[in-house]
Every structure is written in C-alpha cells, then in structure tokens.
Symmetry: C2
Subunit: 719 residues, 2 copies
C-alpha cells in the first residue's frame, strides 16, 4: 500500500486522526495507546465512554431516556414548515410526550409525578436536540403554567387543575410579561381588584402597554392561564400575585367574555410555539382562584401572607422562575455540543487548499485559525457543561427541600443568573462559528446550524434578559462585598487591594468568591510566573473578579447616602464595569466547575487531555482580558506575550483528540442530524482522490499549462 | 403645565431629546442651537439633511431612485412564506425590476444599458432594504451571470445572450463553486475537453465533489448558465475558463440531455433564491460558446490567450467577482443602518426600571450599557459607510477604465477583500445587538432584525469566505512589506520597528499603509500623550498594523527557501496573527475613510458630533486591542486605563444626537418597516403615563403595601 493510499483509507484510520503534519507528534485512537514513530513518547488517549458517562452526570439515566425519546422522528423539527404547520405539529408532540411519561417528573407523586425536580430539568433540556420549539412549548405548559399552579397554588388548586395540565386537557399560559414591561415584573400594570360583595377579583388591563405579550400558548392553544396582576384589596396594592383564569371555552376555543388577544405572528425562531398577547376587560374570577400559597384574601377582603415583607414575598413567588433559567442553561449547552460535534467531524474530513502538498489539500482542522475557532469554543462548552451540572445539583437541593434555606435560594438565583447568560450567548456564538466554519454548507438547513441558531436566539433575552441577569449577579457581588467589610472604608480597601498587599486574612462569603481577594492576592506574583498552572489561572481569574468588585464598590461608596436620582446616576456611570465584573465572576465559576471535574476523571490520558482543554479555557479567558491584567500590573509585558503562543501550542495538543472530545458528548446521528456530519464528505473526498490517483496511474492526465511553461522555460535556458 | 407633563409631551419634544438627567448638559434639536440652562454653553446640533446628502455620496441620485423603488410594497419580503412561495415572488420581482429600468446600468449603452458601473452597484445594494433575497437574486442574474457574459465574452456573445439576460428571457446561473471546493476556485474539477473533430467542448463532472453547488437559479429558474471548468485541449489543461451552457429547455423547463441537478432546499435565509446543484455528463457544447475574451481555442484545438501567464489569466477572469464583494459591502452597511435606526429610535421611547425616580422609568438609551451596545456600532457603521464609498469609487475608476492599471485592480481587490469581511460581520453583529437591545420585541419578525440577520448570515461566507479574504489581504501586506525592504534582512527590520527607532525615512507603497511605519513611529510617544486626538489615534492604529506585519514578516523569514511542506507549516503557525494583522489593516482603512470625510462636513456642529463619533470608533478599536498596545509598550498602564473612561464620556456626548445620526441615513419608514420604530412605543408609554397621572390627580390610586408598612413602622416608633 502506498503512502498516499494509506493516508486516504477511511476504514483503517478514524476520521479525526491526523497524520502529524501540523506539529502534532502523533494521534489518538480509541482502545490503544499510539506511539509516535519519531519520538516513541506515548501520547494520551481519551476514554470516550467513561468521559461520556461523567458528562451525563447525576441524572444520567433520565438523560438517556430523554435522548432515546428525542431521537424519535415524531419529535423532530421539520424544516421549512410554515409557522401554522409547525405550531400544529408541536402541539401534537406535547401529547406524545404525555403518552411517553416524559414530562411529569417534577409533579407530586400523589398526582402521578415523581417529585424529582433535578431529573425533570435534565430530561426537559435534552428535548432541545429534537426541536427547541418542543422544548420551550413543553416548558410553557409544565415548567411555567403547571409549575405556577403547583408552587403558588395550594392543595385544592392542585387537585382541580394539575391533572388536566399534566395530561394536556388544559393547555395553558404563563401570563406574566407585559408589552410595557419586559424583565421588570414588579412594574406590571394588570390589576386584580377584590370585591367582597361578590367575593370575586376583577382582572383588568388598564391600557395597551399592560397587555400580556410574548405569551406561549396564548395565540391559539391556551384554554387556561396563570395571570400575574397587582392584587388590590381594601385600597391597598399588595403587589404581584398569580391568578388562575379560564381563557377560552374548551368547546368553541373562543375567548371567554372580557378576554381578548392577538397573535405575535412569525418570530425569528421557535415558530412551533403560538406566542401571543392577552388583555382583560373587567373579567370576574372567583376569590378562590387566587393561587394563594404566599398571599390570600379572606371573604371580607382581608389580606394575609405567610411572608410579611412584600419584597421578599415577591421574590419568593418569582422563585419558581429559576427553573426556566436552569433548563435554558442546560439546553444551550446541549445545542453547543451537537453543533460542535457536526462542525468538528466535518473539519476532520473536509480538505481545502493545498498549501503543503501538490497532491492533497489540507484537512480544515489542521489550520491554526480553524482550531482556534472551534477548540476555544469546545473548551468553553466543557466548562459550561460541568458548570451546568453544579447548577442543576444546587437546584435539585433547593427544590427537593434538601437544602432549602433563604441563603440556598439566593445562591441558586445568583448561580442561575450567572450561568444562563454565559451559556446562551455561548450557544449562539458557537452555532454561528460552526456554521461559518462549514462555509456555504453551514448555511443549508440540512446542516441545522442556522435552524438551531434561529431557535435559540431568544434564549438570551427571555426568562430574564441576559444583561439584566448579569446586573443581578453584580448586585449580589456588591452586597456580599459590602457585608464582608461592613464598617471598613471601602475606598481605602479598594486601594489596598489594587496595591496587592498580602497577608491580611479575610473570611470567605457563602459564594466564597468575592471576599477571598486579600487572602489570595499574595499568590498573584507567583501566578504570573506560572500562568499555565491551575493555581496560576485560579489566582489570576479570582483576583480579577475581586479587584473589579472592589473597584466598583469603592467608586459607589456613599451611594446609599445620596438622593435616589444621584445614586442612580452614579450607578449608571459604572454600569458597564458592573456587568463586566459579573461576567468575570461567572467565568471564574465555570473555570472552577471544570477544574473540580478533573480529579473525578479516572483515566490518566483522559484527564491529561481534559486538563489541556481546561487550560485552553482558562488561558482564553486571560487572553480575552489581557489588557486588564496588564493595566493592573498582574502580568508583565513579557509574560503576557506568552499567552497567545501557549494557546497555540494547546491547540496542537488537543487536535488529535478533538473528535473524541465531541464524541464523548454522547449524541447519536439521530440527535445531530447534520448532513455534514454523516461521513458524506469523506466519501466524496475519497472518490475524488481515487479519480485523480487512477488517472495519474494510467498516465492520461492532461498536463498543466503552468508545468508546460516551466518546462519550456527550463529547456530554453538549457537547464 | 406641570413639570411632569412637559416631560411627556411628544408634540413638543422630539423623541430623541433627553432631559439632561444622565450627564448630558443639553440636547440637540433640528434647526436651532439649544442652550444649556445650567451653563449657557451652546452644544452642537446635527444638520441632518446635509449629513444625509454627504452619506448618499457620489451616486446620490441613483441611490434615491433605488430607494424609491425599494420602498414599493411589491418588492418587500413577505415574512412567513414558505421557500416555494418566496422563490416565486422573488422571481416575479426580478421582472418588476426590469420593467422599472433598475438593473441595466452596468450593461453597454449599445444594448440599452448605461456603462455605469459604480451607479449600478450603488443602486443594486440599496435593494437589500426591500428583501435581501431580491438583492442577491438580482445579483445572480445580472451581477454574476450577465456580468460574466459581458466581461468574459466577446461581441458575438453579447449580442447573442445579453438582451435575453437583461430582460429576464434567460434567467441564468453563475456555475462556479463546487461541493468539494468552496473558496478555492482554481481547484474545481469540472472539465471542458475540446474535440477538434466535432469542434465541441465536452463538459463533464467526474465525481460527486465536482457538482456545482449553492448555485442561485439552479434549482428551478435557470435556463442558461455560465459554467466554469478546466479547459483541456491537446492534452494541456489551461486552467479555469467560462462556458455558456443551455441548462433547461425554455418550453418544458426540463434539464437538457446530460445535465442533472438537485435542490439545495431550505437555507438559513435568502429563501427567495432557488439555490441548487448541477452536474454534467459529457455535455457537448459548440466551440464558440467558450467565453473567449481571455482565452480561445481555434478549430484545430490550438489554445491562445492575450495573457501569457496562466496565473495572471486566472485572476483576471475572476476579477469580475470583485463587484459582488463591493456590493455586499454596501448592502451590509445599509442593513446595519436600518437596524440601528429602528433600535435607537425604540431606545429613545422605551422605558424600563425606575432607578432614578419613583414616578417614571428610565429611557433605555440613557443606560450606559445600552449606549455602549448601540453607539459603538453606530460609529462603526459610519466608518464602514465612508469606507464603502471609497471602495465604490475605486471600483468605478477601474471598471469605467478611468484608472485601470494592474496596480489599480490589485488595490481594488485588496480593498474589497479588506472591507467586505468587516462590514458583513459588522452587519450580523449589529442586527443581533439591536435585536437583543429590543428584548423580546426584537425577536418578533414584525421588527425585522431576526429576518435581516438570517438573510445576511451567508454574506460572511459567500463571494469569498471572510476568513479567506482576510488572508488575501495579509498576503498582500506581506508582499508589499517584502517589496519595500527587498535586500534588507527582515528580521533585523522587525526588531528595529519593535524598538520604535525613529528617523529613518521610507517611501510609501501604493496602498500607503504598510511601509510608513518607520516614518511614523517617531510620533507614537506623542500619540500616547494624546490618544484622544486624531493624530494620536492614527499613529496608534497605523503603528499596530505595521508592527504586526513586520513581526509576521520577520517570523516568516526564509519561507521561500523552505520545502513547500515546511513553508506551509511555518505559515500555519502564524495564520492567526496574519488574519489579525489583515483585520487591523482593514480597520485602519475604515478609520482613515471616516477621518477623511470630516473636512467635507460644512456645518460646524455636525462636524463636531461626527468627530466624537470618529473618536468613539478609533478609541473602541484601541480598547479592543488594548493588550497589544500594552504588551508592545505603545501605551502605559496609566494611559491605557483612561481609554474606557474616555469612551464613556463620548457616549454621553453622543447621546443627544443619536437619533439625528440615524435619521441622517435617510431611510424612510417604508425601508425600516420595524414595528418598534413607528412611535407606537411612545404612544403606549404616554397612555400609561396619563393613566397613572390622572389616577393620582383623582386620588383614587390604591396605596402600596410597602408604603403602608413604612408608615405603620414610622407611627410605631413615633417618628
């Protein structure tokens, strides 16, 4: 067998295997340790099965079940449907989920559920590979509408509505958002005013901006709704509460009297969901249809709540929303995974431009830029995946009641608000980069990047706008910071931190990130010497968060003593920094989750490769914020200049393992469903290669004019 | 009139007018100079009409005509259509364009055209506001198919086919790209082998990878095609040539014998175009159907070309492709403009969260982060717009023959390869940021962001993949660099440059950017003292390009003496830097185009505001690459730390003029067609405001529970 044909035989070499032409010394193969011919140094291999199992995490069984379901063609998105057809199909798919017992895990065992909150989210987020519309419509029905009845209602409500919600007899809406107020739920203007004479609430939309908007199931399917409104009784507004409302007549599907609405029409994606608008004109609902777990009204109009503080009550009622954020975080990671699987597999087969050889073109994944584009995102996807597992565990702890203190709930809120923005933006970025990395083919719907990207687009603004969520994180960071240093002049402290004085010991806060900065900064100079090491990366990433928070904290000193307007203006002057600090915090948490996952890897080779990938993630974060490290004296010019080179060397090390790393995600062709990831490109390349090879062998290839001219020129000069 | 109502009256204040609460001292109004009440310092105003005229540029009249056409509902995209319906509509729209004399400007006057190449592109790119599918399908028909016949064919060909192409009797294809080779046209595998016995070429597709792919008009509409194939005669392959081929029977619309194809199906966008695949099985075409301007075959099979070098001949024939890149650059800028118009107008009306006042929420555009998100992109859009005008002028100079040397053509190619990637990526980024800045509303198709983004997605990889184009720019930079310093040891030179030695004078190259570095570096230290000034920005931006090129040039020293494989490996190790250098070069050219446009602004106020915007563009570039300036000793830590603050101050200065700056783009509601930009939000806000105002006036607003609790607490403590 000639050298050329051995390079091209797909049966003998796995697609991801490189031939060592691009600085990689050898390649990885499943099942045995390959040895570099040149140096006889064994390179690590990845135990794909074991890594896959680790990635499946605590709810591996649920994920496997959900993936088996998501592999069924009945649940797959049909591309090119009109939004009307797509809506119909998605509606029917919800019934299919019911029939397959796929969506009741979180509901009470007494009603046929499993009381399994973490498992419910794990299963739910896997649906994204079938069709994001299906995932989100299921989320509207059971995660929002049903969940609101379950968490905000009481036993009577559960008995009355949950069975119908669970079995789809009552498709319904979660009617919270209004046209005039997106993420600012406290400001909604719909009112529910109690009338003791009839023992009814009158639900009313006072003006156009108070229409409910973007409400899933509102345009067509919703028969019921949980409607959020300002509860007014005895001339006191007790804030936002949830009311169960019959929306449409189950027979005629017409709106009930006093209720109207509009179709939101075609959207940028998720067109399997019938989003719409709703408005209420003096609609009378029975007193008992207030979901009154956290606030009730007696027949005479007396308001009562187990939570005295209106602010705390509001946040408790909205607390169920966190599961939406948790599941979007997981779904975004899943979408990034299948997208990278498709793009990386294609890049190991596709050849383009013959820079290094006249006979054969380069495999795309051997190009440095291509590696940068895909491997940095692969590393982030791993980080986001491990981070999501931690978030989901935290969520399950809280919702199962295992660890359900106020502090736990606040930590959960903060974690979700930190991870959901990063992972949803990352999914869009990854889908787009994969689509571009596949060129024109990436734009064809048969390869799904564009379709998934369109569907996931809204993930970055719904269930909490990403920019708003990061500000919640920032406020928590500032609050922890202030709490830790109560009585200390924060301005002085900020300067102290910036000056990198070491030695002072400070206790850690609950989230343990914010206040360790003084304790840690002593290691920063060492870190500069070893930014490739775990401790070095940790110190640099942690230091940045802490310093940024301390800087803003210092700048905001005295904001509480100012007028509301002055305070807001001062805050606004630092809004950009605040959001950057929150992002840095979230990235640190992702890096920590990745790092904590490493000791759990049993196989040495796998752990080595994952450590490179973690290093790539950490170094990419440091590279992205290199100017900060330089401006603040954390890295020297000389040290900073090594970051890019080191990243390039990591890319070369990771290259032979890239396909293993995406295969470990464990998605089958039924989930990926991307024409470029079917091996078709490899077959085409082989066919073309064989055509040229046999033509050369027969000696009947036409001679290239350039070659002819070169020969003539050589002959003319007698050479 | 109370203070509150005067703040809310839309009839008296223009929507963009701020009330000075966010650090702006006053606001801008058309037609008069407002004076700050506090300081009596006049702030500049923008002469929207004059600025609009300047932006329309050299082909203002053509643009006005094209915009009038693009305003017609007949040409507008209908959202939610299936791709089949959309294709049909777009096809009919092409006939509408013919009837309205909109697309023949570039064709010869003898055939009813205008020989107006710049005007043709100007008019063509304006169509993007009606429907990008329309723009691109028109581009396929006249800009690629027709243009290939015109530029690569000779008089006989023109007479035979151009009339039918111009009037849509012959819808046709530009069949160049193959499945197996995207941007690497030289490697296409379709062959056209000459047979002197029958005086025919035999067109043949040897294997699946050689199918033509992504070809507009191929799936349904194409009756004719210009097919690119390797021309083989007398056993010599003379490289890629273009052949006119009858594709389908004009009556039956069936493929001609030997021709087959496939539909590319639904795509991520541009679904008004029927992209498809084509393959040829020994299809015989007459010798005279070779478009033989740059290469002909005599009856006996003798090949002849006016261009002796096969390489130069290839690039000459592909030279017509540059007009596609030029027009995509312009269309991308137009899309960014209408998107910013919509998002910025909405942000001046939309209110969210009441941080500074209990009564009224903040206008979105008063938030610092929101300003960052939108104004930095506004600045880039202005830069890209002025840069496009320069590119279009260069294009017209070359294609009109006014300045048509080899050097001119090369400069044009380089400029187009530099600007098209930046503007098309910028358009996607801007559309996405605008969509997110409008929250959930941004995701509704009625606001068009998602629709335009989907359609423009492929602009970043077609007509030359952006990453590939930037590498062409990089190679040109390296070539100019090497040419300038022929005989000089580039390694020494690179160190010399990095060391910032001043004094040595070097002549400038044609593009005048690369080789001025030694001459300019003397001003870098001054620049560090004045990075807010034009000269400081210029020095910093220029220095970076030159140093990066010199660095890579130094690293690649000796590459010509290496084996092909070694050389390719060395290049690949620096691929990322090379692409970054090309991008930096393109950004510098954009900055220069913006800066050169400033003296042409007659009105002082307008020039002042535009200068701020140019500064924002320049400083944003410097901020983005701040780590480079720090690592390379171009900026001190102290100086670098001022960049972010200065950008924040520029945002505040630009804030009152934001609406003027987008209005100057000159697009009417018929072009913008975004529900959020209709003033509807303002009406809703006013209605809500009036509702609460009158409720307070009547004294029948319910009291807030929080207020009640606070009163009770105060009463209990006796305060």
């Amino acid at each position: 067998m000639t050298q050329v044909s051995s390079q091209r035989n797909p049966a003998e070499t796995k697609p991801g295997r490189t031939r060592g032409t691009k600085g990689t010394t050898t390649s990885s193969e499943r099942g045995r340790k390959p040895v570099s011919a040149a140096h006889s140094v064994p390179t690590p291999t990845v135990d794909v099965a074991a890594l896959g199992e680790q990635l499946l995490g605590k709810w591996a069984d649920v994920r496997r079940q959900a993936r088996a379901l998501a592999a069924k063609p009945e649940l797959h998105k049909i591309e090119g449907q009109t939004h009307t057809e797509h809506r119909q199909r998605t509606f029917e798919q919800l019934n299919f989920l019911v029939e397959n017992n796929a969506v009741h895990r979180a509901f009470p065992a007494s009603l046929g559920g499993n009381d399994d909150h973490g498992g419910n989210i794990a299963g739910f987020e896997e649906l994204v590979t079938a069709d994001p519309s299906l995932q989100i419509k299921a989320g509207v029905q059971w995660g929002l509408f049903g969940s609101a009845v379950m968490h905000l209602g009481t036993a009577e409500h559960h008995k009355k509505w949950l069975p119908g919600i669970m079995n789809m007899d009552i498709p319904g809406c979660f009617a919270m958002t209004e046209t005039g107020h997106g993420s600012d739920v406290a400001s909604i203007a719909t009112t529910a005013t109690y009338h003791p004479d009839t023992e009814e609430f009158v639900l009313h939309t006072p003006f156009r901006a108070a229409w409910k908007d973007y409400i899933g199931n509102a345009a067509i399917d919703g028969l019921g709704a949980v409607v959020f409104a300002q509860l007014v009784t005895r001339d006191v507004n007790h804030g936002v509460h949830a009311f169960y409302v019959d929306l449409r007549d189950p027979q005629t599907k017409e709106f009930m009297p006093g209720i109207g609405g509009e179709d939101d029409g075609v959207k940028g994606g998720l067109n399997g969901i019938d989003n719409g608008r709703l408005h209420f004109s003096h609609v009378r609902i029975p007193r008992t249809d207030l979901l009154d777990r956290y606030g009730s009204v007696a027949a005479d109009g007396t308001y009562d709540s187990p939570i005295a503080s209106p602010g705390r009550r509001f946040f408790t009622m909205l607390g169920t929303l966190v599961q939406g954020r948790v599941s979007l975080d997981g779904a975004a990671v899943a979408a990034a995974k299948i997208s990278l699987k498709a793009a990386i597999q294609y890049s190991t087969e596709r050849r383009q431009f013959n820079a290094s050889s006249a006979i054969e073109e380069e495999v795309l994944l051997d190009y440095q830029r291509h590696q940068r584009r895909l491997f940095t995102r692969l590393a982030t996807t791993y980080a986001a995946s491990f981070a999501h597992e931690k978030l989901l565990t935290k969520f399950d702890d809280v919702f199962s009641g295992a660890h359900d203190t106020d502090a736990d709930r606040q930590d959960l809120e903060t974690l979700a608000a930190a991870f959901k923005p990063l992972s949803t933006w990352h999914a869009l970025d990854t889908l787009q980069e994969c689509r571009e990395a596949c060129g024109g083919a990436g734009f064809l719907i048969e390869n799904r990047f564009a379709s998934l990207r369109a569907d996931l687009d809204v993930y970055v603004t719904f269930e909490g706008d990403n920019t708003v969520l990061l500000q919640l994180v920032a406020k928590r960071l500032l609050a922890d910071y202030a709490k830790e240093f109560r009585g200390v002049d924060v301005g002085v402290l900020a300067r102290y931190v910036v000056g990198q004085a070491a030695g002072a010991a400070v206790h850690r806060t609950g989230l343990r990130q914010v206040a360790q900065f003084v304790a840690d900064t002593g290691s920063v100079q060492k870190a500069a010497l070893a930014l490739r090491d775990e401790d070095g990366q940790r110190a640099l990433l942690t230091d940045r968060v802490q310093t940024m928070v301390a800087d803003v904290g210092g700048a905001l000193r005295g904001v509480n003593k100012m007028s509301k307007e002055q305070g807001a203006a001062l805050f606004n002057q630092h809004q950009n920094e605040l959001i950057d600090a929150a992002r840095a915090h979230a990235e640190l948490l992702q890096w920590e989750a990745f790092t904590e996952a490493l000791p759990a890897v049993a196989d040495d080779g796998t752990r080595q490769v994952l450590t490179w990938l973690r290093d790539l993630f950490g170094l990419s974060l440091i590279e992205k914020n290199l100017s900060w490290y330089l401006m603040n004296g954390r890295l020297s010019m000389q040290r900073a200049r090594t970051v890019g080179d080191y990243i390039n060397r990591l890319l070369v090390r990771i290259r032979p393992h890239a396909l293993d790393l995406v295969d470990a995600f464990g998605y089958s062709p039924e989930h990926v469903r991307s024409a470029v990831a079917t091996g078709a490109e490899k077959m085409r390349q082989d066919e073309a290669h064989e055509y040229f090879r046999s033509m050369r062998a027969r000696g009947d290839a036409p001679i290239d004019e350039k070659v002819l001219l070169a020969r003539k020129a050589a002959a003319a000069t007698g050479k």
